[in-house]
Symmetry: C2
Subunit: 456 residues, 2 copies
């Protein structure tokens, strides 16, 4: 087999991006503004400052500046684990006997095990620069909490993580990684916060949800001097930081003269997908190129494919600003058999708007087929993928098999967001043949959507 393109394309350090790209700047129709939950008016930086670091609040609201310089301290940290490789999946291609060329941008070569570190280090940096003592956050599957712990330890910031109780119990090792990096990890709902106590009272024995942990972390941030809240997905600032994925991927493809035909990413809150596709979508928005872009979500939490594009709460406690997004309703919780992340009820307002404008397609896939794809991938490409990332693998394989039928040699690029080393409980279920699927009924989704606020 002719293998002129390396198995792994690593950029040189001097080829790494020194600016993040803000795709909103190139959007003619911008994502709808986020609203103050009390006044229902668009928020300004001053509204966000009590909760978010000031510089991050500015990034959140800036939809006109195309490029933000990456501060040197962050670039130095990036150099410890980036550039991430763009891998040519020769072995997978051979196994599938497809004429397609498959590439994946692998973000799992760091201790957080995922792309989350790209934004964690940025958020910790701005918190440190503002002279804060620490930050609070929530974590579900645990990747974001781990990433933030690493970033805070690097900048010597206190890190308080509210971890969804079922994850806290099912993933004690994730918790220990965070503790090793000096973070304080609390199972949520806890008795530390008003909202936690209230939820514990209302639903005794609850094992928590992401929306609830967000509410607790926000309350913890606003009730302690010198603390702010940080979030690992959904927000536009996070997509901005994650654009480093797409910028590196594009530079690597350009370096070898490869034009992507199709870009595939998994989508929970949208941070990985948004970051990966940003520079490519930028070209589409500026009329310079065209790509087929596919967001892949779990059939058990199908915000893009079955949700509504409306204003909704970002958290269960309704303390965060309202965002216009594809949503299943802020009370929606995926069924208990759902493994891994991608369980947020809504979707990044940037990704939502791009989807609404028809620049992105969306597909939903069921988890047993996702784990089957994960296993197939692991066996030929070596890497044991995270369940989240495996959603993208599943669709990449489907598309490569379509190419086999049509004979097309498409260039398929997908985001491999992370590794599954802390998800072996789910793999065990799959290996034992006891993993099941669940697709919410129309009635369930309609019922959850009833509680969405009516805002025009």
């Amino acid at each position: 087999m002719n293998r002129e393109i390396p198995y792994k394309i690593y950029l040189e350090e001097n080829e790494m991006p020194d600016k993040w790209y803000n795709v909103r700047a190139d959007m003619k129709k911008k994502p709808a503004p986020i609203l103050n939950p009390a006044t229902l008016q668009p928020v300004g930086v001053e509204d966000l400052e009590p909760v978010f670091c000031t510089e991050l609040a500015k990034q959140e609201l800036d939809d006109t500046t195309a490029y933000f310089e990456i501060p040197e301290e962050i670039r130095n940290f990036y150099r410890m684990y980036r550039p991430s490789p763009l891998v040519r999946a020769y072995c997978l291609e051979e196994k599938l006997q497809t004429p397609a060329h498959i590439y994946y941008k692998f973000e799992g070569n760091n201790t957080s095990g995922s792309h989350k570190l790209n934004s964690a280090i940025a958020q910790a940096y701005y918190a440190k620069k503002q002279g804060l003592k620490g930050v609070t956050t929530e974590t579900g599957a645990g990747q974001w909490g781990t990433a933030l712990s690493m970033a805070c330890s690097y900048f010597d910031l206190d890190c308080q993580v509210y971890m969804v109780k079922c994850s806290y119990e099912q993933k004690p090792f994730r918790r220990e990684v965070m503790r090793t990096y000096g973070a304080n990890v609390t199972p949520s709902p806890s008795m530390n916060t008003n909202v936690g106590r209230k939820i514990n009272e209302e639903f005794p024995g609850t094992t928590g949800s992401l929306g609830c942990a967000i509410s607790e972390a926000v309350e913890a941030a606003t009730s302690q001097e010198g603390y702010r809240y940080v979030l690992g997905s959904v927000l536009s600032q996070v997509l901005l930081h994650q654009s480093v994925i797409g910028l590196e991927a594009k530079t690597a493809l350009d370096k070898y003269g490869v034009k992507a035909d199709m870009i595939i990413g998994c989508a929970g809150g949208g941070s990985n997908l948004g970051g990966l596709i940003s520079p490519f979508v930028g070209e589409m928005l500026r009329g310079e190129a065209d790509y087929q872009i596919i967001a892949v979500e779990p059939a058990s939490c199908p915000s893009l494919t079955r949700g509504k594009y409306v204003y909704d709460f970002c958290d269960t406690g309704k303390v965060c600003p309202l965002a216009k997004m594809y949503t299943l309703g802020s009370g929606f919780i995926p069924s208990a058999n759902h493994a891994g992340g991608l369980r947020y009820h809504g979707m990044s307002s940037v990704v939502s708007e791009l989807y609404d404008q028809g620049l992105i397609e969306a597909r939903s896939v069921e988890q047993t087929e996702v784990f089957a794809a994960a296993e197939q991938f692991a066996r030929v490409e070596g890497i044991l993928p995270a369940p989240e990332s495996s959603h993208a693998i599943k669709v990449a394989i489907d598309e490569a098999l379509k190419c086999k039928e049509t004979g097309e040699a498409k260039n398929i690029v997908f985001g491999l967001t992370g590794t599954g080393y802390f998800d072996m409980y789910a793999y065990q279920k799959f290996n034992d043949g006891v993993m099941s699927d669940y697709i919410p009924t129309d009635e369930e989704i309609a019922k959850s959507l009833e509680k969405v606020p009516k805002i025009d």
Copy 2:
């Protein structure tokens, strides 16, 4: 800070080695031959063939050929996860305020989480080429078993792993990784083999040992048609395959004009250390250069620093050939509080001979200080290291601090063999402050050594 040398030096694919280097070829005094346990005569290929793949048996016994071509299929597999980066530890240097320049060769960026994959893929390749159905092996901490599972799944070979029972129970997730790659994992001692049944009878409720799992795996290989036994450390063939670590490291250093002053590696069976140092020791043996080389072992299993250099059994069941090596006696088992690997009673005969010739120094370190070094490293360099690798980190930090006192800008290179993602149980003990140390008494070691056979 002037950071002209990249944080991570990645070789290009065409700079990767295409030959393994056999350091024995440059040794004037060779390691002592391995002996047939029945006849006490040096073994020939024909003696090893019933147990080992023929090509590997040849490599095992060849102490004159300096270079072995790496077959193309293995080089293609290496390209999926190699070259591994040689990392300049700028952040650790800054934290320690040392004038030393610290480099580490990081072998953890693959799903096995360690360097073990380098030899696993070679051994699986030769098994496949010989037309075998499958291979058997033992695993303790689980890295070798995982690596072999990955390699076998790539070449479509059956893989039977005997996993030390206490690890099988304490590390269910390692087991699941192996199962995901299609391996058959059995807790050892099992009731599958004569030796397993015998040990279970003699020591009811035993949680096993590496030496015992080796005996079971060898019996399983020799009692099934089309199977052979493979081993992940100790053997000279394994050091040969692992020379890829040292060859890459040396090429990367040469590329940037860096001359190492000191090379540090952890040592259990000796495969990582032997592989890392081989090309450097080769230069020493040929009188071309000089290096300070330090083997680091756990104080709880101190074969080099407190063992005897004699012929001993390689396994508890005494079915394997005898090797002359630094040994604590084949019945030696580290105390129960010992975490992680590096628990083999002996040491590679190549490393043993180099140590005996004074080309290598050895130090032993205690595990709480090792975990403290691991945590310090993780917090500044990002990577959460394996307990085994952290032995080398501990001594690298010690040496960098000595440079701080003397003002010397030494180039310190150490091997970071892997990641600790499956060792969080041990990290938890450390985080909870309940980790303890144990140093065997002189009497314990003397008693264990009494059972070593008397061979001149």
